[in-house]
Amino acid sequence: MRYKPIIGMEVHVELKTLSKMFCGCKNDPFEAKKPNIYTCPVCLGLPGALPVANKKAIDWTLKLGLALNCQINYLSKFDRKHYFYPDLPKGYQISQYDLPFCYNGFIKTNDGVVRICRVHLEEDTGKLIHTTVNGEKVSLVDFNRSGVPLIEIVTEPDIYSSSQAKEYAKKLYQIIRYLDISEADMEKGQMRLEANVSLIKEDSCQLPEYKVELKNINSFRFLEKAINSEIKRQIEILEKGKTPAQETRGYNAEKNQTFSQRSKEEAQDYRYFPEPDIPPIKITNQWLKAIKKELPEDIFSRLLRWQKDYQVRSEFVENLFETSLQADWLEKVFQNMRKAGLDSGKLVNLILHKKIKVNLFQDQPEKLVDIFKKQTVIEDVSDDQLKGIVKQVLKENPKAVEDYKKGKTTVINFLYGQVLRVLKKKVEFERVKKIIEKTN
């Protein structure tokens, strides 16, 4: 029997605001020199402490929502989500339940549109550290991360393959970096990927009655591999006529296997209710207008436009920049190149392959035209002059010549370099290569 995967994704992203979500503490858990130095009554959950929402974090959530083609809830609120864990000092997480800031968005992938059902804002938890102190096994809590603003982006089950999941996650990452609202470093847990994976029979169009949540995935590659290995595991179970258990599974990259972490047979009751300490938030037209004004051109439209306007290919140029400010710089460069009748596509390739010396995003964009000209335009050298220099170089490098004769052809790159060094001008590789071959 053939099965098809049904995948939904939940992605958490830590915002890089200066201060935390509900207090004035510094939001910098990774650079903190010691545990528990960026803490206060609010993020430690001390008696009587009250949260005050970070306006910037709300701005950025709205920004991301708009970039993800979402609708905005003009009346939004925070809610308390209750569960017990030692890294959650209040016994509840301030999150959003039925009125997230943003809803009904989408990201287009090559394999179809992935609908985003919600983008909401919440707070991160502290971190548990299991270690040994004075020979005793202990669990310690570091609250530096407690209360860091966290956005959650949830999709509909619109993803049908591991590669589509990977593409979705990459595109989401690109958008987040482009808006420059998070470093989204997965190694640091600033972006956390979760995939809900289940299988249905290929001809069925009903949602499966179970779902397995995959966690602990810290790269796009592992996301793809984890989903593949999970699909394999589930097929094996289904082929035996059984149903995979509803559970949360981690991913072990070394073994390329998922492993059970926690059963989810019984849905946990989080006892959500509106956070009484923070009044509901009205998103006014004026507020939204200001956000829209700040919002850069959509990254994917921009890449397409660049292809048309400057003949730079998206798959190359997208590796060159992350933030919209960097994209603005590149755009200025391309405009200047076009004016000077030069090839922006070639410039992009040279930069990517480090064949041209530029201070990316720092040089004046106008200067790039000159730099490009200087470092790429072939200068006039006569054949005789070139032959003389080749002879000289070969004479000075007998060992290399010998190696070459023995069949070590890569030595030619070294010799080419030596020729350029003496010549102090740029000539084409093929031309020099021919002369070297002839001279021998």
Binding site: P41, L44, G45, L46, P47, G48, A49, L50, P51, V52, A53, R80, H82, F84, P86, P89, K90, G91, Y92, V141, D269, R271, Y272, F273, P276, D277, I278, P279
Partner: protein
């Protein structure tokens, strides 16, 4: 005369004129504490450095006067327990906004007063450190949950005090102890640094010997707080300016006089007595019928408020107490008393989604809550203030609450609708029973952020009533 018997205004005046010294004042205060605290169990902690601190305050508006503070306000140099063993010997790392403002205005915390544990109750009997006795008659309860703060004022162990109210917890003990208790509009006074009970209801406020004293204290503790998003940025008024204005031509609506529990009771006579006083002052007084539903010029029955309040407040309690897990501070959960456990369980029930067929109990309660808000908004279009009895009875004898877990709710029934709506109210003594030496209080309720109006009406009433 003993100086501890002075009210706040008199004390400030005499200190200003240098007719009394802080030493003399504190001598009498400490003497009263020494003599009676053991018996009455008002203070859980007495600030021995109070006089020393007061001397530095003489040039500030409150001149170093001793103010008793309920033990759910966090205070840096004094333990803060909310009368629960869970927080026994807990020293906070920061100061509540209200006590900070009190201190920076020249007030001195003379001690931390007993209360119902976590403010769960109306008698102080749920305190893990023993009940407080009513200074007017020690066989009786002082009421609660701010029973210690009301008793401290009544016993002249402080010049004034601070309490908190979720529903009735300032006004009811003020009524039972024969003092003045002001519950400001929700959001008028900061909750930052007050151990949370029902977060959408909690409201700190003054308990004093006179209405004027309440006006003085409110001015210093009220106002926007950057640490409490639910505080209003409306400017704080100069409440004293309104006190001596005439209330002639005011319209007053009387609520809850026709409740079956009150209709034939002796205490209901005092509401009629109050009505006569107001009439003699040129005020139009209307008796407003209680109704089972929202109707023009009628008052929705407070009996629904009990249910709404129980679900909303318990739900919030179950959430607010979750942090007391004993991991970072305080003692473990096994130290919670029976009442707290009961409230947590009931709260969790109301917030649980397992009753899938029905609407969330908490949500339905909030919708009924909106009806009370609408009702008050309608009534305040017509009436300047609304009045009722603060409590349906005189102080009850100590021990009479133990048999009934709903004791607090019945007592607070008259305060709950206004607390749920978040409007302001003040309790001022309206009757004194000579035989028992106990008091009844009149609850004067006003529209949102119209504290000046209830203070004005209460002040005139206080001057005109013969107790």
């Amino acid at each position: 005369m003993k100086l501890n018997k002075l009210n706040l205004k008199q004390t400030l005046k005499l200190l200003e004129k240098k007719e009394i010294s802080l030493e003399e004042l504190y001598d009498d205060i400490f003497q009263a504490i020494e003599e009676k605290n053991k018996e009455l169990n008002i203070y859980l902690y007495v600030n021995k450095k109070a006089l020393e601190q007061a001397k530095k305050m003489i040039n500030f508006p409150l001149k170093g006067v001793p103010v008793a503070v309920k033990d759910n306000f966090l205070t840096i140099d004094m333990p803060t327990t909310a009368s629960s063993k869970v927080l026994e010997n807990y020293y906070p790392q920061y100061e509540s906004t209200v006590t900070k403002r009190l201190i920076s205005s020249g007030g001195v915390i003379i001690g931390k007063t007993n209360m119902d544990a976590w403010a769960h109750g109306s008698s102080t009997e749920t305190s893990d450190f023993g009940t407080t006795k009513n200074p007017r008659n020690s066989v009786y309860s002082p009421g609660g949950s701010s029973g210690g703060s009301a008793a401290a004022v009544a016993a002249n162990m402080a010049i004034a005090s601070l309490g908190t109210e979720t529903a009735g917890s300032i006004r009811q003990p003020a009524s039972w102890c024969g003092v003045v208790g002001l519950k400001p509009t929700y959001g008028r006074v900061s909750r930052y640094g007050v151990i949370a009970m029902g977060s959408s209801l909690d409201c700190p406020g003054p308990i004093t010997k006179t209405v004027e004293d309440a006006a003085i204290l409110l001015k210093y503790i009220a106002g926007k707080d950057e640490n409490d998003s639910t505080t209003s940025s409306l400017p704080v008024k100069d409440y004293l300016k309104f006190l001596n204005k005439s209330i002639k031509g005011f319209k007053i609506g009387i609520c809850y006089f026709d409740l079956p529990q009150l209709k034939d009771s002796q205490v209901n006579q005092s509401i009629k007595k109050a009505a006569e006083v107001f009439k003699s002052l040129g005020v139009q007084v209307d008796y407003l019928q209680t109704s089972e539903k929202l109707e023009q010029n009628k008052v929705i029955s407070p009996k629904y408020a009990i249910g709404v309040y129980t679900v909303v407040q318990r739900g919030e309690v179950s959430s607010n107490l979750a942090r007391y897990d004993g991991i970072r501070y305080g003692k473990g959960r096994e130290f919670f008393g029976a009442e707290a456990k009961r409230r947590v369980m009931l709260g969790i029930f109301g917030l649980s989604s397992f009753l899938k067929k029905e609407e969330l109990v908490y949500k339905r309660a909030q919708r009924v809550r909106t009806l009370y808000i609408k009702n008050f908004k309608q009534l305040f279009k017509k009436y300047d203030v609304l009045i009722s009895l603060t409590s349906p009875s005189y102080a009850l004898k100590i021990g009479s609450s133990a048999s009934s877990p709903m004791f607090g709710e019945l007592q607070d029934m008259l305060a709950e609708p206004s607390s749920l709506a978040g409007i302001c109210g003040i309790s001022v003594p309206c009757h004194h029973d000579k035989k028992t030496n106990l008091y009844l209080g009149l609850n004067i309720m006003g529209d949102y952020f119209q504290e000046e109006k209830i203070l004005q009406v209460a002040h005139v009433f206080e001057k005109s009533i013969v107790l």
